[in-house]
Symmetry: C2
Subunit: 210 residues, 2 copies
């Protein structure tokens, strides 16, 4: 584990920081320069007390009564999350989802740049997709090692996800965002997060009047 | 709010149920018929005590020492989450992401069927995408009302998300899965969930050695 995680800040707090950062950047786009935990709270549907408490883990970001300087707080959060740099990302799987991810423009100004798109299918390898040429999974390990890529997004079928994840980790990847609808086992020093729209939909249907 | 939410089960517990359901169905695919909180816990990286506690909110699903009957537990969780039926879903936005969502096969056997794909662009309206013909946003309200659609997935640009969400809610939608990287305000009786890959990536970079 890195030094950063030893500060014992609850992971759930870390998980909210990207939301704060996103909301702050939105406020900045609206040409605001100062905000408050109340304004952030309203926008994010999080209590202002929670926001103040979360941010207090990282030192004093604002003074009582004067609010937060938006630009300053953005800088601080980007430092804390280490996205004041550009991380290279490999995408594995050039199906519809991998293609959509590769075309998505929301990564680059938030700390990430997709560097490679890999697939296993001979039909896809060599195809041009946006600015990428699909590369064979067989060359994935070498490329990821050589370029020191630490982050991968997995858009492969569920049955291939664990195998591909194992290969990625062997190649040096330390953070995987998995879109395949299956849980993956990773070593303790590897981060894993999941995106599965169905789990979100099923969460919401609990509350619906059927 | 529906009767179901008055049971005061913490929302974070409800949020884990779809993960349990997904893992149980995977076990079923592996032709297992019985599991334990320990086995589920290992697969999900959640403590077995947490799993037992979560499931205890909904009555007795297993006996001490004998484990959980997988099929029975799947049925129960599907009942609780109300996905023992098929919910129609509208997708708004026929860009790369909307197209990927429309092609995704993981919805149908988990309680959802995409019924319509809407877009505002004259270039896209009328196009055939997989099994869908892209329909104009101008007819969205009427169609959603007429068919009683309660769930929508938003794959529109951030700047359009609030407006489209407002229209959806007016038409009767009560659950929105928002892929646009922006927070949306919805009335209390409307569920909202978010998918933003960047927030997941930024969560993970906190822990990486830069």
């Amino acid at each position: 584990m890195s030094v950063r995680s030893q500060a014992e800040i609850p992971d759930i707090v870390i998980g909210r920081l990207p939301l704060y950062l996103r909301a702050l950047r939105r406020l900045q786009q609206e040409e605001k320069s100062v905000t408050s935990s109340h304004e952030l709270g309203r926008r994010l549907d999080i209590s202002s007390a929670q926001i103040r408490k979360d941010l207090s883990h990282f030192g004093g970001f604002g003074k009582q009564g004067t609010g937060y300087q938006i630009e300053f707080l953005i800088d601080k959060l980007q430092d804390v999350l280490q996205v004041n740099q550009e991380w290279l990302v490999a995408v594995i799987g050039a199906g519809n989802l991998g293609i959509a991810i590769s075309h998505y423009r929301g990564f680059q100004d938030r700390g990430f740049r997709i560097a490679h798109l890999f697939d296993i299918s001979p039909k896809k390898i060599g195809q041009r997709i946006g600015e990428f040429v699909v590369q064979p999974v067989s060359s994935m390990r070498e490329i990821i090692c050589a370029e020191g890529i630490k982050i991968a997004m997995l858009a492969v079928p569920a049955e291939d996800a664990q195998t591909v994840a194992d290969q990625l980790i062997e190649a040096g990847v330390r953070a995987i965002l998995n879109y395949a609808p299956i849980n993956i086992n990773v070593p303790e020093d590897v981060q894993i997060q999941y995106i599965d729209p169905v789990t979100h939909l099923q969460h919401m249907t609990f509350y619906l009047d059927a």
